[in-house]
Amino acid sequence: MFFLFSSFNLKAQQNGAIVKKMSLKRGQIVYNKYCMVCHQKDGGGVQNLNPPLINSKYVSGNKMQLINIVLKGMNEPVEIDGDTYSNPMPAQAFLTNEQIADVLTFIRNNFENKASVVTVQEVKMQRSKK
């Protein structure tokens, strides 16, 4: 019984890893098309203007807050290591729930960030909250 359970668990883990891998791949495509122009190829952002995503608490922190930034945009002062970043981020609500889940999973697992995946369900839930 225990053996059966752990093998099931292992299989689920493997499935999870494949799902995550595919999400990361799709996420990179979304990133390159919609995010890279400001946040740049290396996630390093632009001095004074567009905040970096590298090793960022905004990125690897609270998922719901992060989903909201994509859905509603962001126009508040961002200060990182004594520098401020001033360009507003426009809302990206035109992206599908899957695109948002994928791109956030991508940035949470790149640019020196290590955080849990974002699921389509989580984006859907956040979008339904007005």
Binding site: Y34, Q40, K41, D42, Q47, N50, G73, G82, Q92
Partner: protein, 435 residues
């Protein structure tokens, strides 16, 4: 006979090869003699300059040095974007003449970009105010604790908030008030978001305002909107030759990301032009309704206002003096007044290009100081790169890869050109050695 002919042919081929090789050598040599690396290698800085020029690193300054002003004694006032120990201006001096400039003092409790020196006063700006400090005969600030507030209450959004400043020869001060928006869209930088009509920003920003340089506590009511339709001017100088104001504008961003149906990433990287203007009172440069296209040499209707990248503007706007490729970010403009540099540089314009970011996914460009030769108050030739390789790398894909980014320019009384970098805080001095 046949063999002889064969040998002759071979010899001819060899001679041709040698001649071609020689010509190639000469042409490479020519390229090299025009653009030599002539710099302070000991500190790892690798500026590329025209033959006969040399660059030295004279200081490293904390707090992101922006604009800079030189004194009669060759000292340098540097404006800082970020306060260091609560101070926003530093004075640098090379006391022992060893080539390294040290901090003499720091003062001013406001961060900012603009700083200029004229007629016995040092002028410096925050995002909303302009102050001045009285100077002694050596251009040293007499009382660092008590600047006079000359202009107050200027608009400052979160973007384009810096205030570049310059004086004319009649004690007027010109202040850039940047538009706190990319293209006056209903949703700033948003996808297919329309422009507001008329753009409400233009009544108090998106232009150059003129104030008295010696009157205290001026507000908008005391100034005049000297020129409008300028998104964000960082390069600002008064040209005594024509007795007029020149401005180098940062053009709008996001043509592709806001309007992908009209602009692919390549077109969006190249456009719009970064434009340098000679501004008369009442001039309008067209922002946000139009942008300039240097490839077609005309104003194009902005996509936020019914354009599609092709429709030419029906309205007349200020004629550009020079139009550079898109997104290079002209952060400073300086007309060279001295006689230390060779003849062709005298009275010409130097422009510090901070370097692009909005060219992604294409290569980024800029990160150099450009030069425009002038004669009789007009450009007498094409613009050229004067000091290159601030980035210290051949290709910049993302701005973070650039080691340095030019931001401010000053000319010392001996005719050297000072360049600030606000990434590492490096201050360069470019001189002419003739070697």
């Amino acid at each position: 006979m046949q063999k002889l002919l064969y040998l002759y042919k071979q010899k001819l081929a060899l001679t041709t090869l040698i001649v071609v090789f020689f010509l190639l050598m000469v042409s490479f040599g020519k390229i090299n003699s025009n653009n030599t690396i002539n710099s302070d290698y000991s500190k790892g800085h690798k500026l590329i300059l025209p033959q006969g020029f040399s660059a030295l690193v004279i200081a490293e300054v904390k707090g992101r040095p922006r604009h800079i002003a030189a004194t009669v004694k060759g000292e340098l006032y540097v404006k800082l974007k970020n306060l260091v120990n609560g101070k926003g201006i530093v004075l640098l001096n090379d006391e022992n003449k060893d080539g390294d400039y040290e901090e003499v003092m720091a003062f001013g409790n406001f961060p900012g970009t603009g700083i200029t020196l004229k007629n016995g006063y040092l002028y410096a700006s925050s995002s909303t105010e302009v102050y001045r400090y009285k100077l002694d005969a050596d251009d040293r600030v007499i009382d660092t604790a008590k600047p006079e507030l000359i202009i107050t209450g200027l608009k400052a959004g979160r973007q384009h908030e810096t205030k570049s400043i310059v004086l004319d020869n009649e004690n007027n001060i010109y202040v850039n008030i940047g538009a706190y928006s990319n293209s006056c869209q209903e949703k700033d930088r948003g996808l297919e978001s329309k422009g507001m009509m008329p753009c409400p920003i233009l009544d108090s920003a998106g232009g150059i305002w003129k104030f008295k340089a010696d009157k205290l506590n001026q507000t908008y009511a005391d100034g005049i909107r000297y020129a409008t339709g300028l998104r964000n001017v960082m390069g600002l100088d008064w040209y005594t030759q024509t007795n007029s104001l020149y401005a180098a504008q940062h053009g709008r961003d996001n043509l592709n990301s806001s309007w992908p149906q009209f602009f692919d990433t390549k077109k969006s990287a190249e456009l719009p032009s970064e434009v340098m203007y000679q501004l008369k009172q009442g001039d309008n440069a067209g922002w946000p309704y139009v942008y300039y296209n240097h490839l077609e040499k005309k104003y194009i209707q902005a996509p936020e206002y019914g354009g599609n990248g092709k429709i030419e503007s029906k309205e007349k706007y200020a004629e550009p003096v020079v139009a550079f490729p898109g997104h290079l970010a002209p952060n400073a403009l300086l007309f060279y007044k001295g006689s230390h540099f060779p003849l062709r540089y005298r009275q010409g314009a130097f422009i510090a290009f901070h370097g692009s970011w909005n060219r992604a996914p294409e290569k980024q460009l800029g990160y150099f100081v450009a030069f425009v030769p002038f004669q009789n108050g007009k450009p007498s030739g094409d613009w050229e790169i004067f000091a290159d390789n601030f980035s210290e790398t051949a290709t910049v894909m993302a701005p973070r890869e650039a080691a340095h980014r030019p931001c401010g320019l000053a000319e010392t009384s001996d005719g050297s050109l000072i360049v600030t970098d606000d990434t590492k805080g490096t201050i360069y001095k470019i001189t002419y050695t003739g070697k």
